[in-house]
Amino acid sequence: MKIAVCIKRVPDMEARFSIAPDRKSLDQSGLKYEMGDFDGYALEVGLQLVEKQGPGELTAVSLGPDGVQEMLRKALAMGAARAVQLKADQVPVDGLAIARALAAELKEGGYDLVLFGRMATDTASGTVGPMTAELLGLPCVTAISYLEISAGKGTARRDLEGAAETSSFPLPAVLTIDEGIARPRLASLKGIMAAKKKPLEVRPAQLGEPRLFVESLALPPDRPPGRILGEGADVVPELVRLLQTEAKVL
């Protein structure tokens, strides 16, 4: 089984973000980057499928500046056979531009499955996976939390608000992965050593003409500082009074 997993490098969300002087980008000082949470799940799902489904290999693909190579090496250390960097000075905010570049890379690859995380943790958009599927003309199921593949067909389940949808689909297909199927493994020392010799190809990203741009970034107004009313159950009547008369939410 031949699988491609598309992963994005995102800033560590624990950071205290500040805005750069251009007011359109983040101040990079002190920012640490890592693989997006859901992309890690997608990578693990792909690795387990390759292991379980007999001969095959996994390719990790990421679009972005040279900084993504560190993350791609990590994917190789976890078990990917090869990695591809689609080189761009920065990752555009336009999901369709990214999808065009990915589709151009993937279309001749002969992949049985193309996996994405449900969404990147920075933009929380989740658009690139289904857009890439459309451009490739492949069936696609998004945000899945259960997956079974056998005999060239798949069954997936995705959670909706208050409901769950089960669907069946033929391969090749594009899937975007939610929590719940697999937790990413840690790379072994052997894996880390092996990763150094695995191929990491670099090609220019064919982004096309973007139509969605960042106009500005701003820090949201701080919430008013928290207010502790007091200790213990005796404070409850005061809380109820404030919820009724001050916040007017009860």
Partner: protein, 329 residues
């Protein structure tokens, strides 16, 4: 004058609240650019046409109804092809979807088919002559991103709850259309839709959410949280990732960076320390109440009202006081 489009989401033959949100947003967009028409698309099994008047009441001028016995469940391929065909047939300035589970699946596909861009999870927008400006809370809500969409139609998916449905009475024209592709030819087939208990209010639609964390110590103690939610009425129950990871609550109850992002009027955090992961899902609630035994817990930094102490004493008392307050009204 500009025409705006709204996709009206339904499930099980009923409109979802987000359908009224997209129609309301489309009405605002049309009015803001000279008072053009709002065209809504309603897709479902036979009978769904009965829901069209409600779209009219929220500002739709023309409703295209696509009924097909095979469309009882969502079919990404048929819905996307049908929406793209409808959008190609007109000259639309902006098109609104919901950033609901279905809309997040549908809108990107429509964008790719049309070769236009999509601003996702939008909480506010503005129509300009040369662009549509959209606000989106990015970086787990820590950075407000303002986006500029050029080209037509500009596609936007709206964060559920961000735009309040508004009545805007119209007597709409209703037309019928066929699915743009044969449902029988769809490659992805939804074989089952499992509804969770019908009485449960969805987190995205609840005005009040009561959430529990590890501080509850055991899954059965969630009864305290459920009792409080029941006393308040019209309230949903959420949970932290720690709790859903441990299987105390279903994964779909998780609020946070990797779960649901919610904006209720009132959020009551019970036994929740307030990790970044959790704050990302609820920091935009209008009023936050925290009950926790550790006065240094980060949740108290965002809580409008905090009580330090033993939740096993405080929460039952709160339930009682809420009941009493509601009776005296």
């Amino acid at each position: 004058m500009a025409t705006a489009f709204a996709f009206a989401e339904s499930r099980g033959g009923e409109l979802r609240k987000v359908a009224l949100e997209t129609v309301t947003a489309a009405r605002q967009a049309a009015d803001a650019s000279g008072g053009g028409e709002v065209h809504a698309l309603l897709v479902g099994a036979p009978g769904i046409a009965a829901r069209a008047p409600e779209l009219g009441r929220h500002g739709a001028d023309l409703i295209t109804v696509v009924e097909d016995a095979a469309l009882e469940h969502y079919s990404a391929e048929v819905f996307a092809a049908t929406a793209a065909a409808r959008l190609s047939a007109g000259s639309y300035r902006a098109a609104f979807f919901s950033a609901s589970a279905q809309g997040r699946d549908l809108a990107p596909r429509v964008a790719a088919r049309l070769g236009v861009s999509l601003a996702c999870d939008v909480t506010g927008f503005e129509m300009r002559d040369d662009a549509v400006i959209a606000q989106h809370p990015g970086y787990t809500g820590k950075v407000m991103v303002t986006l500029r969409l050029v080209g037509s139609p500009a596609l936007l998916s709206l964060r559920p709850g961000a735009i309040a449905p508004a009545e805007h009475s119209r007597t709409p024209r209703v037309e019928t259309a066929k699915p743009a592709t044969d449902p029988a030819a769809a490659r992805v087939v939804v074989t089952e839709l499992t509804q969770r208990a019908a009485a449960r209010l969805d987190l995205g639609e609840a005005r009040v959410i009561v959430s529990g964390g590890r501080g509850l110590r055991a899954p059965e103690n969630f009864k305290l949280v459920e009792d409080l939610a029941a006393a308040i009425g019209n309230a949903a129950v959420g949970a932290t990732r720690a709790v859903t990871d441990d299987g105390w609550r279903p994964a779909t109850d998780q609020i946070g960076q990797t779960g649901r992002v919610v904006t209720p009027d009132l959020y009551i955090a019970v036994g929740i320390s307030g990790a970044i992961q959790h704050l990302a899902g609820m920091r935009t609630a209008k009023t936050i109440v925290a009950i926790n035994k550790d006065k240094d817990a980060p949740i108290f930094k965002v809580a409008d009202y905090g009580i330090v102490g033993d939740l096993f004493e405080i929460v039952p008392r709160l339930t009682e006081e809420v009941k009493r307050a509601r009776h005296s009204h």
